[in-house]
């Protein structure tokens, strides 16, 4: 599908939210993305997995928080962080029936997704260990999806904390089809990609074509580790995925993922965490490759950071590194730590685990550093504020 022709409304000021291991920062940008002012820290010392501005109202912020000691919770602000109000009932697993599945406790909320445009106040949350939750009151109270969290088959696929990523196994990439509020996707690390067409009552698995680590059986869902899944805003029948084992594309109603990362330069590979899609062109995707060789350093290959872009759905890729350090920069960019705005040209934003925040106003052609010396960056999100 070609680039959509709809013209954009005049740009509004941007809010760039940065979630870190030791708090959150909000960067307010003008509509031209030239002037930024920093507001923070918020929640200094708290582990903030993500801060998201609700694109439906441009005012409501949700922050997923915990500390090294206190249990996980969600905070909400409707005045751009001047004041925060805690959730009355944060995401929490149900208590199992006697003799049922082992009890679990939410360690932290990892992922926040605003609900469908037709459902203001609805949000979805993904947790570690893997759990799916929904709020219908703007994040004040959260209800678990028993169809996922307490389903014996899902629980088998989720494995245990032993099977998960270093910060714990995660449910992430909760996607709401912009055409249909009941059409949902999510991913689990580990545990595959799943889809529902009835609002989450029932689920089907979408792992065909995805590869797993050598020696393991790809028909076993638990071995699948999608790092992030994104749906094209301009074509909701197209999904892209950055996986532990490559970059993929899926065109619905097809159910077989195509590994498009094999066209990446061999010395760079197609392993990484984040993936960003163009708001108006379903052929354009950006990734930020990580070294996935031998012991998986998960740093920029050869110590030379670069984003890569495809402009034709994955047939070819181009390197984008102008402005980044040319050598000896061993960056890690986590799956939620790279994002894009909806302006034209698209602005890109990424945060490193070494606390640097980088931006590009021209779709990755040139990069500049917006902030240094922040704590380890977990997530970067951007939206227009109203």
């Amino acid at each position: 599908m070609p680039r959509t022709t709809a013209t954009r409304a005049p740009a509004r000021p941007l809010l760039l939210s940065v979630a870190t291991r030791k708090g959150a920062w909000l960067f307010h940008g003008d509509a031209k993305r030239k002037a930024w002012s920093v507001d923070g820290p918020h929640f200094l010392g708290h582990t903030i997995s993500q801060v998201r501005l609700d694109p439906r109202d441009g005012r409501t912020l949700l922050a997923a928080a915990k500390t090294g000691h206190l249990g996980p919770t969600i905070f909400r602000s409707t005045n751009f962080g001047r004041t925060w109000k805690e959730a009355v009932r944060p995401p929490a697993f149900a208590q199992p029936a006697p003799g049922g599945l082992p009890p679990r406790a939410v360690d932290h909320t990892f992922w926040l997704t605003p609900g469908h445009d037709s459902e203001p106040g609805t949000w979805y949350a993904g947790t570690s260990p893997q759990g799916l939750f929904r709020s219908d009151d703007g994040g004040a109270t959260w209800s678990p999806f028993a169809s996922v969290n307490d389903d014996p088959q899902f629980r088998e696929w989720m494995g245990t904390v032993q099977d998960g990523t270093p910060d714990g196994p995660k449910l992430h990439s909760i996607i709401v089809d912009p055409r249909d509020a009941r059409h949902l996707y999510f991913g689990m690390s580990g545990g595959g990609v799943h889809e529902s067409t009835d609002g989450g009552a029932h689920w089907r698995t979408l792992v065909e074509g995805m590869q797993v680590v050598g020696g393991f059986d790809p028909s076993t869902v638990t071995f699948h580790d999608p790092h992030v899944v994104r749906l094209c805003p301009s074509n909701p029948d197209r999904l892209y995925q950055q996986n532990h084992c490559g970059i993929y594309r899926l065109d619905r109603p097809g159910t077989t993922w195509q590994r498009i990362g094999l066209k990446m330069p061999r010395r760079v590979g197609d392993i990484g965490f984040p993936l960003v899609l163009h708001p108006r062109d379903d052929g354009v995707a950006w990734v930020f490759p990580m070294d996935g060789t031998d012991v998986w350093p998960r740093t920029s290959p050869q110590g030379r950071p670069a984003a890569y872009v495809t402009r034709n759905g994955g047939r070819t890729w181009q390197r984008l590194d102008t402005g980044f350090p040319a050598e000896q920069a061993w960056w890690t960019v986590k799956r939620q730590a790279m994002t894009g705005d909806t302006l034209d040209p698209v602005g890109l934003y990424l945060g490193t685990t070494s606390g640097e925040l980088w931006t590009s106003r021209d779709e990755g052609a040139k990069w500049s550093c917006l902030a240094r010396h922040l704590p380890e960056i977990y997530a970067v999100d951007v939206a227009e504020r109203r």
């Binding site: 000691h69 206190l70 959730a87 009355v88 406790a105």
Partner: protein, 85 residues
């Protein structure tokens, strides 16, 4: 009974020492949550277990069981086991 509140939970209580009542540790924590909504879930998980790194002392003795019986004359201290960087 008197309850000593660690600094990380004083955003709920606004004070380091508060009053709460109950015949067991679980009841006292429930009463604390009534007086300071949200506090309990930061200390006790949804499976009724004290969270990791969260310690409770009664008159200086460590207590781990929410059913532990308490006397109103005793002092309760909630403490966080600081660790890591």
């Amino acid at each position: 009974m008197k309850v000593l509140i660690p600094s990380a939970l004083q955003s709920y209580t606004r004070r380091s020492k508060v009053e709460a009542s109950g015949a067991t540790l679980g009841e006292v924590l429930a009463d604390l949550d009534r007086r300071h909504p949200g506090l309990r879930f930061r200390v006790v998980d949804e499976q009724e277990r004290l969270r990791p790194h969260m310690r409770v002392f009664v008159d200086g003795r460590a207590v781990h069981d929410l059913d532990h019986a308490l006397d109103p004359a005793q002092d309760l201290a909630i403490v966080m086991a600081l660790s890591g960087g």
